[in-house]
Amino acid sequence: MKPVTSLRLKNFTAFEDLDFRPSEGINVLVGSNGTGKTHVMKLIYSLLSYTHFGKQVEEKILGVFLPTPMNLGRLVRRRRGVDNTEVKLTLADKLTVDIEWNSRSKEKAYRKNPIIALALKRKPESVIYIPVKEMLANAPGFQSLFATHEINFEEVYNDIIIHAFRPPRRGVPDDRRKALLDTLRKQMKGVVIKKEETFFLKTSGEGIIEFPLVAEGWRKLGLLWLLIQNQTLSKGSFLFWDEPESNLNPELQRTIANVLLELQRFGVQIFIATHDYTILKWFQLLHEKSDKIRYHAFERIEKNVVVNTTEDYFQIKPNKIAEAFDILYDEAIKKERGTKNK
């Protein structure tokens, strides 16, 4: 599929009026908690992926957001009276998903262009959302439980397991893909194997280790390894990753940034939401001139959220992550000054 070029939102959750313009490469979403970064990623994911799961777009949105009750109206920006939510996603080839609902809507939205579903079906398996919590360790039995029971898990958790179980494509991976797999293999000191519904890390020194016993950070690398190995992440695919830094030691974040930059060079459009200085800084330090990267700073101004987009790391405004270090540094100086004559 062609990359996403814009997302227009009116009255959707925290957003009164948003014109989000992503890069066709990497998009780094930053901002305080509650500014809607995850909502933007989940919404784009839902709009791109619903056909893969044989669902209607509304059904997918509800499954991914999981409002209570399961009504679209719950996703309308909250204020008095009845309001309309408008969502318009545009891809580089001008295809759009253009839907609308209001605060009384339950399971149906008004669709302005029903043709999009056909376009999305061209390569439906290539839209990946990696949630904050690692799920492969919980894979045994999860899919069947999810399919048959009303369990309160957002669909992204089930979806990622489905993607991880996909077998590798036929043929030998090309050299660049092999290099990426090798980088990840060295970091987690093994490769991921599957036996029935269980994932294992097959190491050279310690044998085969079941995933629940593997460090959560390494499991995240293992998931990435699987998605590269089975070529789910390939040209024209999309990767959404919420807080890739969680459970990862900062020393591994250089690897993550490098791998994501390389996937972008393959033609994967990437969206990550982060609160982490290290990974943000690694993108700035490692990216090459030809790389396509945009930083989107989400900021709540009174009851609305606005997004400032820039391609220059130093123009990220506001940069709450860097500001946290300004405060730390100031406090460290203040404390040192306070030691006078003690």
């Binding site: 270090f325 100086i333 040192e336 000054r337 030691t339 006078k340 004559n341």
Partner: protein, 154 residues
């Protein structure tokens, strides 16, 4: 009165007494900081570094080691001239002329400098000869030490 050091012009009009130290002035191979600022209740050791060379070098352990060495030798000098009655404050001012340096990096190097100075205590040394240490860029120097004036001269 103003002083030039590493392409920075300083004015310490409110300071009690300024000693702009020449390299080698302490003798006996002792390294020195650039300024000794004697105030009523403390002596400030001010070391100034311009970053004409590669900026990242100024965030390296080598630089921290050099800063520690200068502090130690300056303390030795002060001890030998019997001038250690007051608290010693160490300010390492690095003129990073790049936006690449942010608070996270300054914080890390500042901690490394403090760790280095405390490490000097060693097994047999019984005192922490520097009571307070700051690693700052020009912007933070101006903010934190408003009694001193500093401006770039080029």
């Amino acid at each position: 009165m103003t002083y030039i050091e590493s392409k920075l012009e300083f004015s310490f009009s409110r300071a009690s007494e300024i000693q702009h130290v020449e390299n080698g002035e302490f003798g006996h191979g002792l390294k020195n900081v650039d300024f000794l600022i004697r105030e009523i209740d403390e002596v400030i050791l001010l070391e100034v570094k311009g970053t004409s060379q590669e900026v990242t070098r100024y965030l390296s352990d080598d630089i921290v080691n050099q800063l520690v060495e200068k502090a130690r030798d300056t303390y030795t000098y002060l001890h030998l001239i019997q001038d250690t009655a007051k608290q010693l404050t160490y300010i390492a001012l690095i003129d990073f002329r790049t936006k690449e340096i942010d608070s996270a990096m300054l914080l890390r190097r500042s901690d490394a400098l403090k760790a280095g100075l405390r490490g000097e205590k060693g097994h047999s040394w019984q005192i922490e000869y520097i009571q307070r240490a700051f690693l700052v860029d020009v912007e933070n120097f101006k903010k934190e030490f408003p009694n001193f004036e500093v401006n770039r001269v080029d």
